[in-house]
Amino acid sequence: MDAPHAAVDETFRAEIRAWLARGLTGEFAPLIGAGGPGREHELIDLRAAWERTLGAAGWIGIGWPVAAGGRGASLAQQVIFHEEYARAGAPGRLGHMGEQLLGPTLLAFGTAEQQKRFLPGILSGTELWCQGYSEPGAGSDLAGVRTRAERSGDGYVLNGQKVWTSLAHVADWCFVLARTDPGAERHHGLSYLLVPMRQTGVQVRPIVQITGTSEFNEVFFDDARTGSENLVGGEGAGWRVAMGTLGFERGVSTLGQQIGFERELNTVIDTARANGSLQDPDIHSRIVQAWIGLKVMRYTAVRTLASSADGVPGLEASISKLQWANWHRDLGELAIDVAGPEGLVAVGGAYELSDAQTLFLFSRSDTIYGGSNEVQRNIIAERLLGLPR
């Protein structure tokens, strides 16, 4: 009744599990539980080293074709990788933007030269990427992008501002949606450009968030430059390329994500048991509901994976996003309610927060970033149900 796994998959599972158990020792031991949503500020240098170690061992891009440097791993094996990665408490990935978003985009829309230039850096964990989509004043409305990219000699000059850019301060490159045709509106006249981050025309400013820590950034392009060889999919094709990315993930990391959720829920249950709030019928009922909700997400992910051949990945992604964002936000509120009056007090002096407090606060971003609940509902209503605009 698990995700369908053959015997060969179990061998694969044993391999990654053993590798992670060995790998997360010694210098990398502090990485267990580090990074990830709400903790992206943690142990950056060590996590960068970890990326290179992962890459050297061939654990990046395992689902990519062998010809592109991947292992051509099956969907089931990709799921297993994510499950085991989560189970081991391995750290939040600094390289996931490159591996999950840019790599597949280049495989689908990039030229042979672009693939040759950029895929090895992703696979080896030596070049890190960030995503330049959202802008102030546009929010979840990607078609409202105003960052301009103008032709200049053999390249482009970019001016504008991006926001909610995770890991911009550690990234070497950014894939940017910019307007190359200033006369065009909405999703016309956009282009998908790869822009080096380490140049004077690019400034990164961290955004201090509700938790008091920083994980998202503002990125300012002020006459930033990139070569014309870094245009993906042709000028004006930016919307098509960016939208194409949405369907790539196919939910392979979802079950892994849920293992992290389960760990968080178990912590909440343990706290409730320890402080007696589990005896409160209201808390008890909410905990059972959360447990059931996690199962429902699991069944949904299993079904999506089993049917991904004929499913519509973009729409399944919207359903999954709403499901987990709401579930996780509710878990955050449950965690702080279980903590009770004690949860009102910071752990340390300068706004050092407990896990429950961080969960409560950071999960508020889940329903906003990566396509807000409102945008996901629009997509489902219009594209899945076919309701008129």
């Binding site: 009744m1 249950i269 589990l278 008890h284 009922s285 905990i287 059972v288 509901q289 447990w291 059931i292 199962k295 429902v296 997400m297 069944y299 949904t300 299993v302 079904r303 999506t304 359903i319 709403l322 499901q323 409102e374 996901q376 509902r377 629009n378 489902i380 209503a381 219009e382 899945l384 149900l385 076919g386 309701l387 008129p388 605009r389």
Partner: protein, 357 residues
């Protein structure tokens, strides 16, 4: 009969049959007492399609479908709210297929041959009422009372949970046997009839095997399937209505508040459908996991159905409040699905208990 092609073929055959025979307009105009139980349709479906013996093993003369394939057929009935004993009969025969008493085997053969129909009488979440005792001749007799038994007065055989020395067990009781009184009662739900069943020393066969817990598990899974099938139809019908119906000079479905509510329904239903599908696989697999998945699936799916059906009435506006329009049929059926064989709150507590919370 388990390859994808065969599944699709069976499902298509059933759908075509129902499109011909069980047009919703016909069902809504059935005069009392035919409303709530379409005996004629059931007879035809048994004769023409063998739906009474969907999951009866081929060795006993049945179609030998897996539980999952049977659930696909049930889905076609459920989304049309066909009023009849398919759900209970499928659950009963799936249960009996796991029993290895002679009486169980005999019932299965008769189901394949004569088209027996069944009702499951449990009343309590995981318990049993009534008492069984062995007479001097070694035969079982049951005494007790079961309320709100679906189609209890119409079906041929009742599967009854009862206690023997305090231990719950499952018995088969011939509905026409002496000592069995069946008092028919109209339902709130027009797609079901109910009966109060009074057993007074009624002759009974012990058909235990996996036990009453398993019988309830199968019932919960079947109700989950029924719920999501009907909810899907209800949502699709509502969305279709919202696309054409105009208000304030625009289709209602173009108003964003309405769209977002439909999206929320779609998300809720997608989760419930995946849950029902998983539960069906668990029921077929028969592993330990079923005891958690079954009550979980029933509560999740019935609640999702209720959400969709209630929103359907609201979003149809005044017309959804009339007897003519079918929206109320879904609302009433959904509420019954929430209540039958244990409420959502009861089942969630059961899930919590099994999960060690």
């Amino acid at each position: 009969m388990s390859s994808l092609d065969e599944q699709r073929e069976m499902r298509r055959t059933v759908a075509e049959f129902l499109d011909r025979q069980a047009d919703p307009a016909r069902l809504r105009t059935l005069p009392p007492p035919a409303d709530g139980f379409d005996g004629e349709l059931w007879r035809r479906a048994v004769v023409e399609l063998g739906v009474g013996a969907l999951v009866v093993p081929e060795s006993a003369g049945g179609l030998g479908l897996t539980f999952a394939d049977g659930a696909l057929v049930l889905t076609e009935f459920s989304r049309r709210l066909v009023p009849g004993p398919l759900l209970d009969t499928m659950v009963a025969t799936a249960f009996l297929s796991q029993v290895d008493t002679p009486s169980g085997a005999a019932l299965l053969r008769r189901t394949a041959l004569e088209g027996l129909s069944f009702a499951i009488a449990t009343e309590e979440v995981a318990g049993a009422v009534g008492t069984g005792r062995v007479t001097e001749t070694g035969a079982w007799q049951l005494s007790g009372r079961k309320r709100s038994v679906v189609h209890g007065a119409e079906v041929d055989v009742l599967l009854v949970t009862a206690r023997v020395d305090g231990v719950p067990a499952v018995f088969a009781v011939d509905g026409a046997a002496p000592g069995v009184s069946r008092i028919p009662r109209a339902g709130l739900d027009h797609t079901r009839r109910y009966a109060e069943v009074v057993l007074d020393g009624a002759p009974a066969d012990l058909v235990d095997g996996p036990g009453p817990g398993r019988l309830l598990d199968l019932m919960w899974v079947a109700l989950a399937v029924d719920s999501v099938a009907a909810a899907r139809q209800c949502l699709e019908q509502t969305v279709a209505y919202l696309k054409v119906r105009q208000q304030f000079g625009r289709p209602i479905g173009s108003f964003q508040a309405i769209k977002h509510r439909c999206a929320d329904m779609a998300v809720t239903l997608a989760g419930a459908e995946a849950t029902a599908q998983y539960a069906v696989q668990a029921a077929q697999g028969g592993g330990e996991e079923l005891s958690v998945v079954a009550p979980l699936a029933k509560s999740v799916c019935a609640d999702a159905f209720m959400v969709v059906a209630a929103e359907a009435v609201q979003l149809h506006g005044g017309i959804g409040f009339t007897f003519e329009h079918e929206a109320h049929l879904y609302l009433k059926h959904a509420k019954a699905n929430q209540q039958l064989h244990g409420s959502g709150a009861q089942l969630r507590r059961e899930v919590g208990r099994l999960a060690g919370i």
